[in-house]
Symmetry: C2
Subunit: 302 residues, 2 copies
């Protein structure tokens, strides 16, 4: 009764003629950067993003969100900043902040630190659920741009930072006309794809959607693919943001590891009929044709 959704990004629960789709996630060690930069007003956007971006992959419209905020001793100023971000994330994803829990747990967290988890529920009509089952060879692989590292890979980011000798307040090399610090580039809030993805779905022809989180293209795209099919991705078919170039160089990270850890500039991948993809690629919102579905396994980089 739980299927479809095995291997998908949100859990599906049948309810009348709909599925309720639920997702939970935290923001991981990206929090450490927020602590170091004493900037707490966007990490709540990341928190909402991680869960709602998961559930929208089923075609579900997010309905409500709940948060859990845990700290040793409540700092009201910090908590207000965090909540401000959560409220903004809920606004961007058009869902209600239905509740939350603030837990004061002495001796659990270092002074000034906290952890966050979030939980989102959406719904989709059973006959409209997107589960990848209709994906076929020849379908288009379309990518939607990310705003940066989003909320995954920060354990590696922190290692690279330490190794590089750079500080968070140093300017990011290669940022060009819009100079920004490494810290601000890394802390940029995760893009919330809800509105854009639901719009694309409404136009028809979407067969599968992958939220590119920890594991990058390599691990996340195959989660929605039927057996025997692979995604052929042309490296160079989209713009890789400067932060990834810097991380690769500063950390001397192999390309394969970059693609297995980071989103590389694409936070959401849609598998679509070619005709439908053409319409999206001509639209106002930026989208890239990354490649196509072929016979095979996993992701084939070209």
């Amino acid at each position: 009764a739980m299927a479809p959704g095995i291997g998908g990004f949100g859990g599906l629960y049948p309810f009348g003629d709909s599925y309720l789709v639920a997702g939970t996630d935290g923001v991981g060690t990206k929090l450490k950067l927020a602590f170091e930069m004493s900037k707490h007003d966007t990490i709540g956007i990341d928190l909402v993003a991680m869960s709602v971006n998961d559930i929208v992959t089923s075609g579900a419209k997010p309905m409500f969100f709940l948060d859990y905020f845990a700290t040793s001793h409540l700092d009201v100023d910090i908590a207000e900043q965090v909540i401000k971000g959560i409220v903004e994330g809920c606004r961007q994803s058009d869902c209600a902040l239905l509740g939350g829990e603030t837990a004061e747990m002495p001796d659990f967290y270092a002074p000034g630190e906290y952890d966050l988890s979030g939980f989102a529920v959406g719904s989709v009509k059973k006959d409209a659920v997107i589960d990848g089952s209709r994906i076929a060879a020849g379908d288009a692989v379309v990518g939607l741009p990310s705003t940066g590292v989003h909320s995954n890979g920060f354990s590696l980011v922190r290692k690279i930072l330490a190794k590089s000798g750079r500080s968070l307040s140093d300017e990011l090399p290669g940022a060009g006309h819009s100079p920004l610090t490494i810290g601000h580039a890394l802390l940029a809030p995760t893009k919330i794809y809800v509105e854009q993805v639901l719009d694309i779905i409404a136009k028809g022809g979407v067969k599968g959607i992958a939220h590119i989180t920890g594991g990058g293209f390599t691990d996340n795209i195959p989660r929605v693919f039927p057996e025997g099919l692979a995604a052929e991705v042309r490296v160079g078919s989209w713009t890789v943001p400067p932060i990834f170039k810097w991380l690769k160089e500063a950390g001397n990270v192999e390309e394969a590891e970059m693609f297995r850890t980071f989103n590389m500039g694409i936070g959401m991948v849609l598998i679509m009929e070619q005709m439908a993809a053409e319409q999206i690629l001509k639209g106002d919102e930026p989208a890239f044709l990354l490649g196509q579905v072929i016979n095979g396994e996993g992701v084939v980089y070209k």
Copy 2:
């Protein structure tokens, strides 16, 4: 569109002819006792209990649960024990474990420690929602027994323990024929009231339900009461478990603070029509008549 449920224990979201009811909670510093006793197989029951006991107060049947488990470095043995408890909690509350997130966050938690949060979603038909609005003077106040301290008040518990000089492996005074240690009494898993409460609701006459968590009777019962009405509670009308007597004596805690912090042996309070209450009090499952609804404010102890 969010009402009813303001001041209630779960957030309500309208969906067709139903409300979806969602709750989130952790288990707080009870975790520290699990760490000290190296006993991780029931804390997951507490986790599920805290959320499902909240949502059943609206008359909602829990449908699914998701967990968030965060630790610095994953210890698979500990994680398996924790999940075992979560699975048992879901079994007891007849809800699906729909998903979860295991977050490895280096430098967040002390070695061997972790934090947990849980999210439950249930549903109730709009015309069957229980929100306290029909509570009237003369209604019965019925209590369902707890299994002990449940998952609240552990900051005070830990202070009392430190002050008392007792260890968790000392025998609990007053435990009588079934000797047990202070540690095991404190770590007893939170009772899951879902089946019992839904059975009582099905028999009719239930007007309001309060889950007795942090804040005890004093803060939780009034959350479901209309303006101008109070709960008159006869102290002595139920059996207070030995653990509360020991906590009161060992910590030299005032009665008022005990009732504002602990459940005192009653984990769930139902406000019912007198005739309906009589049937429940005669039933097989233990229940106590604590008192009645009177004109006034808050909880009046007698």
